[in-house]
Structure formats: structure tokens, C-alpha cells
């Protein structure tokens, strides 16, 4: 009744909707707990972040003393050189991690699709990095990259490829690629599991028919297997991209964003602004920008998922 359109048509449409909602009132009980948790932990924070992004806040979270600054936080972000450095880092990090993790995961899934002795064991070993904590992974690799006692440096020196162990994560030029290697190590198993699941849905008859028709291995893959995996590939790539865009632990624990911002990505930068330098307003404005970017990605995510839904409905 809050929507007054002045037309009986709108009211005529509203009535059945309300009646329908009333008839289905019991159904809502099933989703209510999930929705309630989501509202508290999601809707309220989003509202609060948007509000805070227009204010200048004193340190210490004494939020009563905040000062309205309009779009001041946004202009100061977009004009700062750190913003562009961090953005290019984030792009390199997200694109490289997503692409390489997907290719390695997909290739592993294909190579593991045929049955051979030890396949189950191999598959289990390849999945382990995805299961262990990112904190543990960060420490393991930090030790591997260690500039004095790291194993990679020692191997390079032993093979005569370097005079002294390189500083993988203390040097501006190598830090980002080194962290990406760690990230891919943790993430390719996810792509592998998803694509293994996808491969099981490719009908064997089609592959056999293609073989009878004389298609070679590559043609069978390209014309039969791959089209069947398009949906699952899209979902996997999007989930990987979102996860990479949102990563925090690996750069935070391994380098803290250093040296001189060379491994800062958006999330670590926002965290440092908020909890390190206590600049809540600027950090919130950053979050809102991030939010807008993710909404764009989310649009494609939902479209990819509802593509599945539609096919489901017609089947």
C-alpha cells in the first residue's frame, strides 16, 4: 500500500502478489534463518560502509566525532599515486593467478581423467595444497624463498645459476611473481576438482562416436569435450577471479605489502588503511569502489549461473 500509482491496474497486480506471498507464508520459514544471518552480517555492513565513506573519522573508532567530507575521500584516493600502483598490482595478481591456476587445474583434470595405477593417490596429493591453511602455506613458502637459507636459492647457487641466493620476496621486481606462484600452488586444485566434476558429465557415447568418425584427440577435445565444459569453466574462472581479487592472507603474511608497496593489492591496502593507519573513512571509500567493481563481476557470475538454471528448467 505504500506504492501509490493511482491506477487500478497496479493495485490489481499487487493484490494477487500479496495473496500469493500470504499463501506461501510457510515456505519463508525455511529460508528465514539463512536470510536473517545474511541481513545482519551483510546488509548492515554494506549500509554502514557506504555511510562511513563520506566522513572523515578520527582514529580509535570514536565514530561520534566524524566529520562529513562529501566525496573528499574518493577524490583523494583517485588522485594518489599509491592507488594506481596498488590497482596495477591487483590486476596482475588477479589475471595471472586466475589464468594460470585454471589452465594448470584443467590440464591436471584432463590428465587424471584416464584411469591408471595410482590415480587416486596422485589426485589426493594434488588437492592437499587447497585444503591446508593459507597461513601455513605462506610460512612454508616464506621459508622456501628465504634469502639466506631458502632451498630455491641454494639450488640455484648449487647449479651455478646464481652467485648468491636471490632475494625473492625482498626485491621489488620479483616479489609479485613469487607470491603469484604461491597463490597458484594453493588454487589450481580447486580448478582441478571443478573440471574433474565437469568432465564426468561429458557423455562417453559422443566421444566414442567422434572417434569412430575419425576425429583425433585434439578434435575430440575441442569439438566434444570443451563445449560441454563451457558452463563449468565460466563458473570456475569467475569464482577463481573473485577469490583472487579478494585475497589477503598470502601477501599479508609473506610481505605485508612490501617492499615499497610492490606487493600491496587492494585488500591488503584497505586493511592497512583501516586497521593500521585508522583512516576508516578512506578505507570505506575504497571498499565502496571495490564493491562497485565486484558488482560488475557479480553480474556476470549470476548470468553464468542463471544460464545453468534456464537449461535446468527446460530439461
Amino acid at each position: 500500500m505504500t506504492i501509490v500509482t493511482g491506477k487500478t491496474g497496479a493495485r490489481g497486480r499487487l493484490r494477487p502478489l500479496l495473496r500469493k506471498i500470504w499463501e506461501h507464508r510457510a515456505d519463508y520459514a525455511y529460508v528465514l534463518p539463512a536470510i536473517a544471518v545474511m541481513l545482519i552480517v551483510i546488509a548492515y555492513p554494506i549500509y554502514y560502509t557506504i555511510e562511513l565513506s563520506f566522513f572523515n573519522t578520527p582514529p580509535g573508532l570514536q565514530l561520534r566525532d566524524k566529520i562529513f567530507v562529501g566525496f573528499g575521500n574518493y577524490t583523494s584516493i583517485l588522485t594518489s599515486p599509491v592507488f594506481w600502483k596498488v590497482t596495477s598490482n591487483t590486476l596482475i595478481w588477479t589475471l595471472a593467478s586466475t589464468f594460470i591456476a585454471f589452465v594448470l587445474g584443467f590440464a591436471s583434470a584432463l590428465a587424471l581423467h584416464r584411469d591408471f595405477i595410482g590415480r587416486g593417490v596422485l589426485r589426493a596429493i594434488l588437492i592437499i595444497p587447497w585444503v591446508i591453511s593459507a597461513v601455513a602455506a605462506s610460512y612454508i613458502w616464506k621459508w622456501i624463498y628465504h634469502s639466506d637459507f631458502g632451498i630455491i636459492g641454494a639450488v640455484l647457487v648449487g647449479l651455478g645459476l646464481a652467485d648468491r641466493p636471490p632475494n625473492f620476496i625482498d626485491s621489488v621486481s620479483t616479489v609479485l611473481p613469487s607470491l603469484i606462484v604461491v597463490n597458484i600452488w594453493r588454487e589450481f586444485p580447486f580448478a582441478m576438482i571443478m573440471m574433474m566434476a565437469g568432465l564426468q558429465t561429458v557423455p562417453d557415447q559422443l566421444l566414442r562416436a567422434a572417434k569412430v568418425d575419425g576425429a583425433n584427440a585434439w578434435q575430440r577435445f575441442w569439438h566434444v569435450t570443451f563445449p560441454h565444459l563451457r558452463n563449468v569453466s565460466t563458473v570456475t574462472i569467475l569464482l577463481l577471479a573473485v577469490a583472487n581479487f579478494n585475497s589477503f592472507i598470502i601477501p599479508w603474511i609473506m610481505t605485508g605489502g612490501g617492499p615499497s608497496n610492490a606487493s600491496h593489492i587492494w585488500i591488503t591496502h584497505i586493511y592497512e588503511l583501516a586497521f593500521g593507519r585508522q583512516r576508516w573513512g578512506v578505507a570505506s571509500a575504497y571498499s565502496v569502489l571495490l564493491f562497485l567493481i565486484l558488482m560488475t563481476l557479480g553480474y556476470f557470475y549470476v548470468r553464468a549461473l542463471s544460464g545453468n538454471e534456464r537449461k535446468d528448467g527446460s530439461a
Binding site: 500469493k20 506461501h24 515456505d27 525455511y30 534463518p33 539463512a34 544471518v37 545474511m38 552480517v41 548492515y44 555492513p45 554494506i46 554502514y48 562511513l52 573508532l61 565514530l63 591436471s108 584432463l110 590428465a111 596422485l122 596429493i125 594434488l126 588437492i127 592437499i128 585444503v131 591446508i132 591453511s133 597461513v135 601455513a136 610460512y139 612454508i140 621459508w143 637459507f149 641454494a154 648449487g158 600452488w185 589450481f188 571443478m194 566434476a197 565437469g198 564426468q200 558429465t201 583425433n216 584427440a217 563449468v232 563458473v235 579478494n246 589477503f248 603474511i253 585488500i267 586493511y271 583501516a274 586497521f275 578505507a283 571498499s287 564493491f291 565486484l294 549461473l305 542463471s306 545453468n308
Partner: protein, 296 residues
């Protein structure tokens, strides 16, 4: 005649050669992936059985001269302070993860069932709203959640973590379970209801048992997510006796920066529960992904 047979045979041979080429390529690739995956973990294990002195050598000892379990003994000994802390962190992680897992199954099962079976207005909107949660990084929610938790008095309690972790697990859990319920024929429930079962009974007696693999997959996912979570635990908890493992280990080793054997032993022990859990139950997980997420 013979030339035709000849060409056919040659063609077959060529095809076999190319298939072998792919197969060998696959094997070499898998060996590479195995090395990439396993070598860091092996190096972690080897380092964890060195003494602190043996670890700090250049060139490194590939295998320790005197292997020792001292790091593990130190971490598991309730008599000294390091062991006390480690065991307490371990217990905290176990409590938070288990509580999160149980709650998320309780919340996700009815929601997924409703999304799969009922056609109430706003169903699609609510479903995608739930899925969208996946899109947003922890950091966006950190400041407002911290203030919210402070307002309702949950800062420095495990409750703040459990409530937050619940929302990570829920989107994927609901998505996976919905796919499962979609694949269970409605006729099964209808038959049960004709036989006099209520909707609730039909759900408990027919649908729940059939969706057990999905529920197990959901539970694994929630448990692993909660066990490994770092950023909220790092922000919400400040008292030493409440820390979970990832934060506890990080805090401990930022004070003892050179104890790499201890750090590797702690990393190993932190990984054992989730790896074992996953390896034991992984077939449910892969199956749930196949049936729930992929096959539509």
C-alpha cells in the same frame, strides 16, 4: 588392395603415435605438477625434524644429520608455555570450526530445500542475494562488523567468529544442496505423503537420507573454511587464550622469527586435521560438486 591396406595401417599407426604423444605429454605434466605440489610440503616436513641450528645452514642439509622430534615435543607438551598455548589454540580452532559446521548444516538444509522445492515470490531474488555473498571480500565487512560485534558485546568471544563464519559457508552450502535436492524426484516425497507422512516427515525420512553426501560435502567445506580462517580471527580476538590456530601461530612466530623448525612443525600439525578429514571424505565432495554444481 595391398596399398589400401597399407595406408589404413599406416594411418592407424600414426593415430596411435599421436595418442601416445598426448598420453606422454599428460604423464610428464602430472610429474611436474606432483613435484610442484609435493616438494614444498616435503621440505616443510624435513625442516620440522631439524634442530634450529641445522636449519640455519648454507648450503642447507638436504636430510638432517641428526633428525629430531624436539619441535613436535615442544608443541605438544602441556608442561611448557609453548605447548600450553599451542594446545589451547588447537582446542579453540576445533570448537569454533565444529560449532560453525553444525550450525551451517542446520541453517543451509531447510533453505536449500525451500529454494529447490517451493515457488514462493522472491525466490530467485533471495537465492541470488545469498549467492552474491560469495563475491565480497572479508575486508569490506570487517570495520562495520567489528563495530556491530562491539555493540552487541561479542568482541573477544568465539561467538563473533562463529556468526561470521556461518555466512561464508552458507552460499556455497545452499548452492550445493539445492543442486542435490533438484535431483531427488519430487514423486518420492509425494508417495510418502500419500501414505500419510507430513511434509516434515517426508523431508526427514526421504529427502535427508538421500542428500547425505551433499550434507557431508557442505560440512567439510564449512569446517575447512572455519579452521583456516585468519582475517576475522586476527581482528576480532585480542586475548591470547582465545586465539585460533592461524592467528596464534602467526602471533607466536612474529616474536620468535628464527625458529623455523618449530614454525614448520606447527604448520604441519595445523594442516593434519583438515587434510585427513578431506582425504577421508573427498569422494563425497567431488560427488556433491558433480551432482550439485555441475550437472544441471
Amino acid at each position: 588392395m595391398s596399398t589400401i591396406a597399407e595406408t589404413a595401417r599406416r594411418g592407424q599407426a600414426r593415430r596411435r603415435a599421436s595418442i601416445d604423444g598426448w598420453r606422454w605429454g599428460g604423464r610428464i605434466f602430472l610429474v611436474f605438477m606432483l613435484l610442484y605440489t609435493a616438494l614444498p610440503m616435503i621440505w616443510m616436513l624435513i625442516t620440522s625434524i631439524k634442530s634450529g641450528f641445522a636449519a640455519m645452514q648454507f648450503p642447507p642439509q638436504w636430510w638432517p644429520d641428526q633428525p629430531t622430534l624436539a619441535s613436535y615435543q615442544k608443541l605438544l607438551d602441556p608442561q611448557n608455555s609453548v605447548g600450553q598455548d599451542f594446545l589451547r589454540f588447537f582446542w579453540n580452532s576445533l570448537f569454533v570450526s565444529t560449532a560453525t559446521t553444525i550450525l551451517s548444516v542446520i541453517v543451509a538444509v531447510p533453505a536449500a530445500y525451500a529454494f529447490s522445492r517451493f515457488t514462493f515470490p522472491g525466490r530467485n531474488f533471495l537465492f541470488f542475494a545469498v549467492l552474491l555473498r560469495n563475491m565480497f571480500p572479508a575486508v569490506i565487512f570487517l570495520v562495520p562488523l567489528f563495530i556491530l560485534m562491539r555493540a552487541i558485546g561479542l568482541v573477544n568471544t568465539h561467538g563473533s567468529l562463529i556468526l561470521t563464519y556461518l555466512t561464508f559457508g552458507l552460499p556455497l552450502a545452499i548452492w550445493l544442496l539445492k543442486g542435490f535436492y533438484d535431483n531427488i524426484p519430487v514423486q518420492l516425497e509425494q508417495a510418502a505423503r500419500i501414505d500419510g507422512a507430513t511434509r516434515f516427515q517426508a523431508f526427514i525420512l526421504i529427502v535427508m537420507p538421500l542428500s547425505t553426501p551433499g550434507i557431508i560435502a557442505t560440512a567439510i567445506y564449512s569446517f575447512i573454511g572455519a579452521w583456516n580462517e585468519y582475517i576475522y580471527a586476527y581482528t576480532f580476538l585480542s586475548k591470547n587464550e582465545q586465539l585460533t590456530l592461524p592467528v596464534g601461530i602467526q602471533r607466536f612466530f612474529s616474536e620468535n622469527t628464527t625458529d623455523f623448525p618449530g614454525l614448520m612443525a606447527a604448520s604441519f600439525m595445523m594442516s593434519v586435521p583438515v587434510v585427513v578429514l578431506f582425504l577421508v571424505l573427498q569422494r563425497y565432495f567431488v560427488r556433491a560438486l558433480t551432482e550439485g554444481a555441475v550437472k544441471h
